[in-house]
Amino acid sequence: MKYLDEFRDAALAEHISASITREATSSSGYRLMEFCGGHTHAISRYGITDLLPATIRLIHGPGCPVCVLPVGRINQAVRLVRERDVILCTYADVLRVPCSGQMSLMRARSEGADVRMIYSTQNALQVARENPERQVVFFAIGFETTTPPTAVAVKQAHASGMENFSILCNHVLTPAAMQAILSARTGKMLDGFVGPAHVSTVIGSKPYERFAAEYSKAVVIAGFEPLDVMQAILMLVRQINQGRATVENEFSRAVTREGNLKAQKLVAEVFELRDAFEWRGLGSISESALKLRPEFSRFDAELKFGVDYVPVRDHKACECAAVLCGEKRPQECRIFGTVCTPENPVGSCMVSSEGACAAYYSYGRFREELT
C-alpha cells in the first residue's frame, strides 16, 4: 500500500538495523527517550527492540495524552455527567481510565450517565445540535495535534450561537513536558529524544531547538511507522557519536521547521496559556496547558457548571508517575500484570494503547521470563 508498505519493509529494516549495530558501539550506551505514545506503540507492535543492539536503551516518554491526565480531571468529567446531567462526548480511550471511588466514565455510563464515544469534535457538535434541550460537554484532551479541531468546534459553536455546547479543556503542551523531563532526574541521564511526530506537524521542529542547545540533547523528529523510528534511532546514534546535539527531522514528509501556521493561528485565537496545570507523573507545570480565551469562556465547562479541579493522589501502589517520567520501566512496577492489567487497569498507562504499560503488557511481556 502506498505510504505504508515502504515504511514497514523488512529488508530496509534489516539494513537500518545492521547500520545501528555497526555504529552504536559506545561503551557508555545510548539512552534515548521516545517521547510519544505513538512511538512506544510502534516499537512494541513491530518488535523493534529485537532489531536493536544491547547498547541502545529506549525509555518511554510522557507523550500519551490519556496517561498524563491526573485522576482529578477524570473526576471532573464524572461529576459533570452524574451531578450536572450533561451529555459527555469523549474519545474512546478515556472511557476506561479509573478515577476516585472505583469509578470511571465507562462505569458511570453503565449506571445511567449519558457518556458518548465519538471520533471527532464534529460528532460532538452534532450531538449538541440533535439534543437542543440537553447540555453537551466535549472532553477535550490531547497535545497540540488535537487542539486545532477543538478550536474549530468552539469557533463553530460561537458563530452559530450554540448555548448547549461546552468543552472540558485538558489540552496540554509538548515543549512544557519536555522541559519538565529535562529538568528532572531522568533528563540528566538521557542522550537524546525521538521527537514527536504528529505534534510536530502542527508546532514544527523549531520549539525543540532550545532543548538541543540548552541541554545538549540530540533530537530527531520521527514519524510513527516502524522504519521512521529505526531511522531516527540511527540518526540519533550518529549525532551522539559525533558529539552533536541538534534538532534533525526524519519526518520531513510531514514536518517543517515552522509547522502548520494556520493551525497555530487558529489555536491562538481560541486558547491562551493556563498559569499552571497538573500532570500525572510530572506534577504541576507552569504554562503547560491551555484554557479558553475570555471571549470564548462561555464554552468552558469548568466555569459553566462550576466543577473545579481538585487534585487527587494516585493509587498508592501505582507507578504510572515514575513510568511517565522514564524513571521506571512498566515491568518494574509491583502491580504490573498482576493487580493491574488491561482488563482491570489501576493506572492510566495500562489503559490507553499508547500507554507504556499497556504496550509492554500487550506486546512485550514474553520477554520477561525469557531473559
Binding site: 500500500m1 505504508l4 514497514r8 523488512a10 529494516a13 534489516e14 538495523s17 512494541s44 507492535r45 513491530y46 518488535g47 523493534i48 527492540t49 529485537d50 532489531l51 474512546a92 480511550d93 472511557l95 476506561r96 464515544m117 471520533y119 516502524p226 522504519l227 492489567t341 488491561p342 482488563e343 489503559v351 494503547s353 499497556a358 503488557y361 500487550s362 506486546y363 512485550g364 511481556r365 514474553f366 521470563e369
Partner: protein
C-alpha cells in the same frame, strides 16, 4: 353479522407498513405476520404445522447444538445483512465441531416502528441462506419491544447438527508442533460493516465474507488429514480465536505475520480507523490446527475449495506454559498477540 362476512385484515405490506406492538402480542396481527411472512419465506412442514415445537425425525449420530445472537448495526452492509449473517453464524458454530448442520430456530426481537419492507428483505435473506446451506428453519419466535428499546431488529438463531462417528474436534487438542492453517483473508466482515457505519468509501469496496462453512469443513474432514481443532474467528478476530485455543490446550503459538492473508482495502481501512486486523471479525473463515505431517495436504485440499482459495499456513503450536500467542512481525521483530483489550468496538455481528 351475517355468516359469510369476514373481518378485514389490513395487508401486512403496505409500502409504509411498520411493525406495531400488536405484532408481538400473540393476537391476530401476530398470527398474520407469522403466516404471511415467516411461513412463506421459510417454507417447511414443521412451521406449516403451527405447533409449539417442531418434532424432528430421528438421526444417526451425536447431536451438536449451538446458538448465536445477532445485533449488527447497520443491518445491511456490503456483501450481506443481519439475515444471512444470523444463519451463517450458527451454521458455522455447529460446523466447527465437524457436524453437518440440519435445523435452525430463529428468534426475532423487533422494535416498534421497524419497516416491514426491511424485515421482509432480512427474512428473504435468511430463507435463501438456509436453503443454500441445506438447513431448515423449523421453529421461531417474535417479540416486539417499544420504540427506543431495541435497534430495529435483533435475531437469535439456534442450530442443531449431526456428527458422524470418529470425528473428534475440540479446542483443547492442539499439540506442540501442530500447524495452524487459516482459510483466507482476515478482517473482511468487520471492515465491511465498519466502513459502512463510518461512511468511509474506498476505491475498492470491502465486502463481508459471510458464508456457511460446513461444506469446506466436510471436505477437510474427508481428506484424511488429522485435524484437531476447527474454529471460526468471528468477534474478536483471529487473535482472540488463537488465544482461546492456546488457553484451552495449554500451549503457546508462534505466528508469522507476513503469512497472514489480508486484502489491501481491508488493511487500508484498518489503518485509517486505527484498528489491528488481527482483532477484526470474520464471518466466513476458519482456523484449523492439524498434525504437522498433514499440513501440506490439508492446505491443498482447502485451496481447492471456493471458500478457501487463499488459505495459508500461518504458524505453529509451541510448548509454552504461559500460553502466549507470539508473532514474528513482518519487520523481523517479535511480539505477543494478546487477548483483545481496550476500546470497545461497535456492534459488528
Amino acid at each position: 353479522m351475517k355468516g359469510d362476512k369476514r373481518p378485514m385484515l389490513r395487508p401486512l405490506y403496505s409500502r409504509r407498513g411498520r411493525v406495531e406492538i400488536l405484532h408481538g402480542s400473540g393476537g391476530r396481527a401476530m398470527a398474520q405476520l407469522v403466516a404471511e411472512l415467516f411461513k412463506v419465506a421459510f417454507d417447511n412442514a414443521w412451521l406449516e404445522q403451527g405447533n409449539d415445537a417442531a418434532v424432528l425425525p430421528q438421526v444417526s449420530g451425536r447431536l451438536v447444538m449451538s446458538c448465536d445472537s445477532h445485533v449488527v448495526s447497520p443491518l445491511f452492509f456490503e456483501g450481506g445483512d443481519i439475515g444471512c449473517l444470523s444463519v451463517h453464524g450458527t451454521i458455522n458454530d455447529v460446523s466447527m465441531m465437524g457436524a453437518q448442520p440440519l435445523y435452525l430456530t430463529a428468534s426475532f426481537i423487533l422494535e416498534e416502528g421497524f419497516p416491514f419492507a426491511d424485515l421482509e428483505r432480512i427474512v428473504a435473506s435468511m430463507a435463501s441462506a438456509a436453503r443454500d446451506a441445506g438447513v431448515s428453519i423449523v421453529a421461531g419466535d417474535t417479540k416486539v419491544v417499544e420504540k427506543g428499546k431495541g435497534d430495529g431488529v435483533f435475531i437469535t438463531t439456534t442450530g442443531i447438527g449431526v456428527l458422524r462417528e470418529g470425528i473428534v474436534l475440540s479446542g483443547d487438542l492442539a499439540q506442540p508442533g501442530d500447524r495452524i492453517l487459516l482459510s483466507g483473508t482476515i478482517g473482511d466482515h468487520g471492515m465491511a460493516v465498519l466502513s459502512r457505519r463510518e461512511n468511509l468509501e474506498f476505491d475498492a469496496p470491502i465486502f463481508s465474507d459471510t458464508a456457511p462453512l460446513h461444506g469446506l469443513v466436510a471436505t477437510m474432514l474427508d481428506c484424511g488429514a488429522r485435524v484437531r481443532v476447527l474454529r471460526d474467528p468471528t468477534r474478536g478476530g483471529l487473535a482472540t480465536t488463537l488465544n482461546e485455543i492456546a488457553q484451552q490446550s495449554g500451549v503457546g503459538m508462534l505466528l508469522n505475520e507476513s503469512a497472514i492473508p489480508i486484502k489491501k482495502p481491508v488493511e487500508a481501512a484498518c489503518e485509517f480507523l486505527g484498528l489491528d486486523p488481527l482483532y477484526v471479525a470474520n464471518e466466513g473463515k476458519l482456523v484449523a490446527v492439524c498434525a504437522p505431517e498433514d499440513a501440506v495436504h490439508l492446505l491443498e485440499v482447502m485451496r481447492a475449495h471456493p471458500l478457501a482459495r487463499e488459505a495459508a499456513a500461518i504458524g505453529e503450536v509451541a510448548e509454552d506454559s504461559r500460553r502466549f500467542v507470539q508473532m514474528n512481525t513482518r519487520l523481523g521483530g517479535r511480539r505477543i498477540v494478546d487477548w483483545l483489550a481496550g476500546e470497545p468496538l461497535p456492534r459488528i455481528c
